[in-house]
């Protein structure tokens, strides 16, 4: 099998030569593509490489007998009827509002990472099935990130804890309450000395008031907080700059020039979904809006923010402080030591940047990442003040967190007390410190010295296993609560279902600690808000408004006036020794700090840039790989402060040289069957004095490890399918942008169908605003019951995602430009798949949709062979889990669960179209308008980059976009007439850095999508090697 063969050595220097010698703009997906390795060719020519059609799971005799036995038993049971007997259990007392067959939507907020993210949860007769964003919520505006959406799967995870455990033995909640009662009585006599609480970041006003009450009952109780991917540096930076903790709110909708210093603000912040929306609002280039904001990014690890940037420079994280200093100095910030420009940044680049910032006083913003030391944040505050940006592109508010502080020191104080045996009872609300605390604090050992430890957690994880008591936690969809969003807006967490596994909420556990028995979360949260005495208003009205809107109005934090107090900005970062590499720790783009490790959707989600699934890797730049002669999958040993970690490398074009990034969150020991043992645990190298940036050695080993990336899957014959150009080029001729080459002549042997009914569907995806965040991929997976297939299957190209995000590179290897292109079935009007299906299982309908009829499909796979877009997915095995009861509850009842042997693909969310069509026809309004049908991907997109609508409704947005000069169809030259089209990516480079080139020089002509491909063109396009 292909994937087991050792990867061919890719000659990086030869690739450089090839790219340099290429005429015109080349787009490539991977080093293997440019090098034309055999493996890549295999993926190119056969969508599913050799062996993919084989059943490679040896079926043991025992399993065979078991399965056959079950089928025989079933056959016996059902013999009397042509279908198994199904029963209908109606309600005894029907709840109001529930109409069987119609979904209900409830507002709530997801708090996966501490801060509130507004959601609308779809519920079918009492079971939540789908999470989307709440348009009323400031952190969402209708969109949702991958973590929030994937929470629905976590809630139904059959491996969630179901049982109170006492030293690993099954116990009960009552036994727990009885057992800790004497301890608590003792602690109460001791004024609470010895009682310690450990939480993650808390934004819940109710929990805060409960903790205050706890403090009055046990005056000496200590409350510690720790979040492995925390914002300590950001907080300390504000302390340094203003003498107090403040949160910064960014208003990217006001910002024309943005400088991000190692800040992945489109992904990693609590307000990222909102920031992405604001950012993209200034980036939508149209015929009548010939302007765009400009983003400069200087970063170490390639991120999606760097990918959308107009100018990106790789720079080691430890050198960013110097760069910030230089920028501050050039802008006239006082108190900055002399600093010289880091070697990686060209002087004229900096010159142009500084000038651009200066020209946009009040409409620019500078932002630094959470891995940068406090002084960088303080400098950035000073720069923003200097540029008069405060009040326009950013504002300050009081911290949203209940108890802001240095979390690392808080955890250090706790472990010190634990080691000293001063902790008689430790209650941990969530979190997994045994796994994710800095390794030098040795939390696991300290935990052994605690008298009684209690861990409230969704899973029996590494920490639960070492605690005296484990209490199953209720998911946020199961318990009442509240939380505040990044801007301070408070919301009530509204549960949709009784705890599936008898979990308890944090509120209930705190109440228990205070000896309040038989109180429930609903009363606790409601009473808290009642006690706030909301302006004489009728409380029930207030409560219902809060629940129906999903936000409590008037709770957003007001802007705060602060004055810059910092007068000097001392150097903090020690230079990395010359013989060492910089080791960077970053949260994983799919599973964050490890808390989502058992979520199959997130594990299988290709990471935005590397497209790796199911693993983390040591990311290195191309030049570093060349120097060390490393190739993808080579296992290296990282060594820092005497600790070592063996990890496979992955060459990430654009990664800064002489540095290596390892994503946190992998290498879990007790995550569940999905997460346990995937990847390597980077926390083993992460010490408290270098949480983000460490230095160390990298040593090659002889071994190799199979990393699975989807970057070469579904490659479209090397044709140019991304079109991009600069704003200046677009301005020069808005009706015929020079980066398009001529009109394509449409030819077809088949007669045209008029599509003149009331509805005809189409989609437009704006590549200028696609940030590659993957939100649409997870939305599609949740909405359409798409199964998870596992790492081995992904290696064979069998991933089932209907919607994938293709990532293309162009330009130099060390700092390429990145382009994202969401790709799903484009619903060709002249669909090549339809003409080859022997059983007419895929046919066109009158609304222009390419129908895929599962019950007709016999699995010949001719259609996917003939699909030029490679968007059809085949159930090679029985991927859908038909046995696990809780997973059945999660599924969308309006979408068929596909079985083995069936082809599937994007349907434009036909279930949503059907529902809207039926509603419209019943109301005698068959012509559906904008907003009547919103596809799952469209709703989830934080930047509103996806537009879907009725082409036969003249005033629809999708029609307007299709008339834009930037609109083009991928592979239109094949006469497929795709219904999904794209708006070309328009970049806005600074002419001082990237002088305008005439379009002809800049872009190749031979394979532009708008030129007709000559019939004698060889099938493998311009990459042909034969």
């Amino acid at each position: 099998m292909t994937m087991q063969s050792p990867e061919e050595r890719v000659d990086l220097s030869e690739i450089r030569t090839r790219l340099a010698g290429a005429t015109g703009q080349q787009y490539w997906r991977s080093l293997a593509e440019v090098a034309e390795t055999r493996e890549f060719q295999e993926f190119l020519h056969r969508e599913f490489p050799g062996g993919a059609a084989e059943w490679d799971h040896s079926f043991s005799r025992r399993t065979f007998l078991k399965v056959m036995g079950a089928s025989l038993a079933l056959a016996g049971l059902t013999a009397c009827r042509y279908q198994p007997v199904e029963r209908i259990a109606p309600y005894v007392n029907a709840p109001e509002q529930i109409v069987p067959g119609l979904p209900l939507f409830y507002t709530s907020v997801a708090t996966s990472r501490g801060y509130a993210q507004g959601v609308l949860v779809e519920s079918h007769t009492g079971r939540p099935t789908f999470i989307s964003g709440n348009p009323e919520h400031p952190a969402s505006l209708g969109a949702a990130d991958i973590f929030t959406q994937a929470e629905i799967l976590t809630m139904y995870d059959p491996e969630r804890s179901r049982q109170v455990l006492n030293n690993g033995d099954k116990s009960t909640w009552d036994a727990f309450v009885a057992a800790i009662a004497p301890h608590l009585a003792e602690l109460r006599r001791a004024q609470g000395a010895g009682l310690h609480i450990l939480t993650q970041t808390v934004t819940s006003p109710t929990l805060a008031s409960q903790f205050r009450a706890l403090q009055s009952a046990y005056p000496q109780v200590q409350w510690h907080q720790y979040e492995p991917v925390g914002y300590d540096n950001v907080r300390a930076g504000s302390q340094l700059a203003f003498g107090e903790y403040v949160d910064t709110l960014y208003h990217f909708d006001q910002a024309q020039v943005i400088l991000a210093l190692d800040s992945d603000f489109l992904f990693a912040l609590p307000g990222s979904v909102r920031y992405a929306r604001d950012f993209s609002n200034r980036r939508r280039v149209r015929r009548d809006k010939l302007e765009s904001n400009r983003l400069y990014v200087v970063e170490s690890t390639p991120t999606i923010t760097g990918a959308i940037a107009d100018h990106r420079q790789p720079l080691r994280a430890s050198e960013i402080e110097r760069l910030t200093r230089v920028v501050a100095q050039r802008l006239g910030v006082t108190g900055v030591n002399n600093a010289e420009l880091p070697a990686g940044i060209p002087a004229e680049w900096l010159e142009a940047l500084v000038e651009d910032l200066q020209q946009h006083r009040g409409t620019s913003v500078v932002i630094a990442g959470h891995n940068q030391p406090p002084v960088v944040h303080a400098l950035v505050h000073a720069i923003n003040q200097q540029l008069d940006n405060v009040g326009t592109t950013l504002s300050y508010i009081d911290p949203v967190e209940v108890n802001p502080g240095n979390q690392l020191e808080s955890l250090r104080a706790l472990t010190t007390a634990m080691q000293a045996g001063q902790v008689s009872m430790l209650v941990m609300f969530g979190g997994n410190p045994v796994y994710d605390a800095p390794v030098d604090l040795d939390f696991a050992n300290a935990l052994a010295r605690v008298g009684t430890s209690v861990h409230l957690s969704l899973f029996v994880d590494e920490t639960s296993a070492r605690s005296t008591w484990h209490i199953p936690a209720a998911h946020f969809l199961e318990a009442w609560g509240d939380a505040r969003a990044f801007d301070g807006t408070a919301s009530v967490i509204q549960p949709l279902i009784e705890p599936l596994y008898g979990g308890k909420s944090a509120h209930e556990l705190v109440a228990t600690l205070m000896g309040q028995v038989d109180v429930n979360g609903y009363d606790i949260v409601r009473n808290f808000w009642r006690s706030r005495g909301l302006g004489g208003r009728d409380f029930d009205t207030f409560w219902h408004t809060a629940l129906s809107k999903g936000v409590i109005e008037g709770t957003a934090a007001p802007p705060k006036q602060v004055t810059l107090q910092a007068t000097e900005f001392p150097d903090t970062v020690a230079a990395i020794p010359a013989d060492e590499l910089e080791i960077l720790f970053q949260p994983d783009p799919s599973i964050w700090d490890g808390r989502f490790a058992n979520n199959g959707w997130l594990q299988e989600l290709p990471k935005p840039l590397t497209k790796l699934t199911w693993d983390n890797a040591a990311l290195i730049g191309v030049a570093t790989a060349e120097r060390l002669r490393l190739r993808n999958g080579d296992v290296v040993e990282l060594r820092t402060q005497g600790r070592t970690l063996r990890v496979p490398v992955w060459i990430a074009p654009g990664h800064v040289d002489e540095a290596v990034t390892v994503y946190l969150g992998y290498g879990r020991e007790r995550a569940g069957t999905v997460g346990t043992g995937q990847g390597v645990n980077a926390y083993r190298l992460r010490t408290s004095d270098s949480l983000w940036i460490a230095s160390g050695q990298l040593r090659r080993t002889a071994s190799r490890y199979e990393l699975v990336s989807t970057q070469d899957h579904s490659s479209m014959e090397g044709r140019e399918i991304v079109v991009s150009g600069t704003l200046a080029q677009f301005r020069s001729n808005p009706e015929h942008p020079p980066f398009f080459h001529g009109e394509h002549e449409y030819r077809s042997l088949y007669p045209d169908y008029p599509y003149d009914g009331p509805r005809s569907w189409g989609m437009v995806i704006d590549l200028s605003t696609c940030i590659g965040c993957n939100a649409c991929v997870i939305a599609c997976q949740a909405e359409n019951n798409i199964p998870v297939v596992g790492k081995g299957q992904v290696a064979n190209g069998r991933e089932m995602h209907w919607l994938r995000i293709d990532r293309y590179y162009s330009g130099e290897l060390d700092n390429p430009r990145v382009y994202f292109q969401p790709m799903a079935c484009v619903h060709c009007e002249k669909a090549p798949c339809e003409t080859v299906c022997p059983v007419a299982a895929t046919v066109h309908d009158d609304e222009g949709i390419n129908n895929m009829v599962y019950n007709r499909c016999v699995g010949t796979r001719y259609c996917s062979n003939n699909c030029p877009y490679k968007v059809r997915r085949f159930n090679f095995l029985q991927y859908a889990d038909l046995d696990t009861e809780t997973l059945k509850l999660q599924r969308n009842p309006n979408v068929t669960v596909r079985n083995r042997g069936v082809m599937e693909k994007c349907t434009y969310c036909i279930q949503r179209i059907s529902a809207a069509r039926i509603k419209g026809e019943q109301a005698n309004q068959p012509v559906l308008k904008d907003g009547d049908v919103v596809t799952a991907c469209q709703a989830a997109c934080p930047t509103q980059g996806i537009t879907f609508g009725n082409l036969n409704y003249p005033d629809s947005e999708v029609n307007r976009l299709k008339a834009e000069p930037l609109n083009y169809g991928v592979l239109e030259e094949l006469n497929t007439r795709p219904r999904t089209t794209y708006l070309a990516r328009v970049r806005n480079p600074n002419p001082a850095i990237e002088p305008d080139m005439p379009a002809g020089e800049h872009h190749g002509t031979e394979t532009s999508p708008h030129s007709v491909i000559e019939p004698e063109m060889p099938a493998d396009g311009h990459h042909g090697t034969e």
Binding site: R81, Y82, Q83, V85, E86, R87, I88, A89, P90, Y91, V92, N93, A94, V99, P100, G101, L102, G757, P758, V843, D845, D846, E847, I849, N851, V853, Y854, N855, N894, V895, T896, V897, T907, I910, Q911, I913, S914, I918, E921, Q922, N924, P926
Partner: protein
């Protein structure tokens, strides 16, 4: 010269030829029988009364008492699912009528224990068929077209075999079956002699787009 004794008599040749044909015929027959069997009303359970946990009679409720379908099947005009009534719907009348009848006993049991009555599904479409009641009843398609004269059924049975071809009869030619919406729940409705003319008029009036009705995605997704 001694001739060897023949094992097969001359007639054996004929027998062999005949048996080839008969064999082929038998195979064809078996196939035909199987096809006929699997398409038969017997196999599809048409006209076979299904035992239910409660001896509920549509004949009495819908026929003799004359209750409207929608009294129990309340969501038929709003939702894909017509609704099997909750126990409390039964209770509303049976606190007044036949409270003590042993036939009504399961209702009281369900109400007391909170356990639903588990009815057996009679019209069970495959999972890949997404039938929607509301669009049918709102566009002039009567209950009896699929369910038959339920008001005459002491125990409900399937009136139609529910083959896809049968669905398409109407999806292709709705004018043959459509009736005025006011008559949808009328069990006694008979098609008038001018059905085609009336039907064509109604199809227009109700905005029924006949071309689209045979799209796959109308029912399958």
């Amino acid at each position: 010269m001694a001739t060897r004794p023949q094992i097969f008599r001359p007639g054996t040749n004929t027998l062999a030829r005949v048996s080839i044909f008969v064999g082929a015929l038998i195979v064809v027959e078996i196939l035909l029988i199987l096809i006929v069997f699997f398409r038969s009303n017997y196999w599809r359970q048409v006209h076979i009364a299904i035992d239910q946990p409660v001896n509920f009679s549509h004949q009495i409720h819908a026929g003799v008492v004359g209750m409207d379908c929608r009294y129990c099947h309340a969501s038929v005009a709003q939702s894909s699912f017509a609704t099997i009534p909750p126990t409390e719907t039964c209770v509303t009348c049976h606190t007044q009528v036949k409270q003590n009848s042993p036939l009504v006993q399961p209702i009281w049991e369900s109400l007391e224990t909170g356990k639903p009555i588990e009815w057996v599904k009679v019209h069970d479409l495959p999972g890949f068929v997404y039938f929607n009641h509301s669009i049918h009843v709102n566009k002039g398609f009567g209950c009896t077209e699929c369910h038959g004269r339920v008001n005459e059924m002491p125990v409900v049975w399937q009136e139609q075999a529910l083959f896809m071809g049968w669905c398409l009869n109407c999806h292709r030619n709705p004018e043959k079956y459509i009736r005025p919406v006011e008559e949808v729940y009328n069990m006694e409705w008979v098609r008038p002699p001018n059905q085609i003319a009336l039907g064509q008029k109604l199809v227009q009036e109700y905005n029924i787009d006949v071309n689209r009705l045979s799209n796959c995605y109308i029912c399958h997704r």
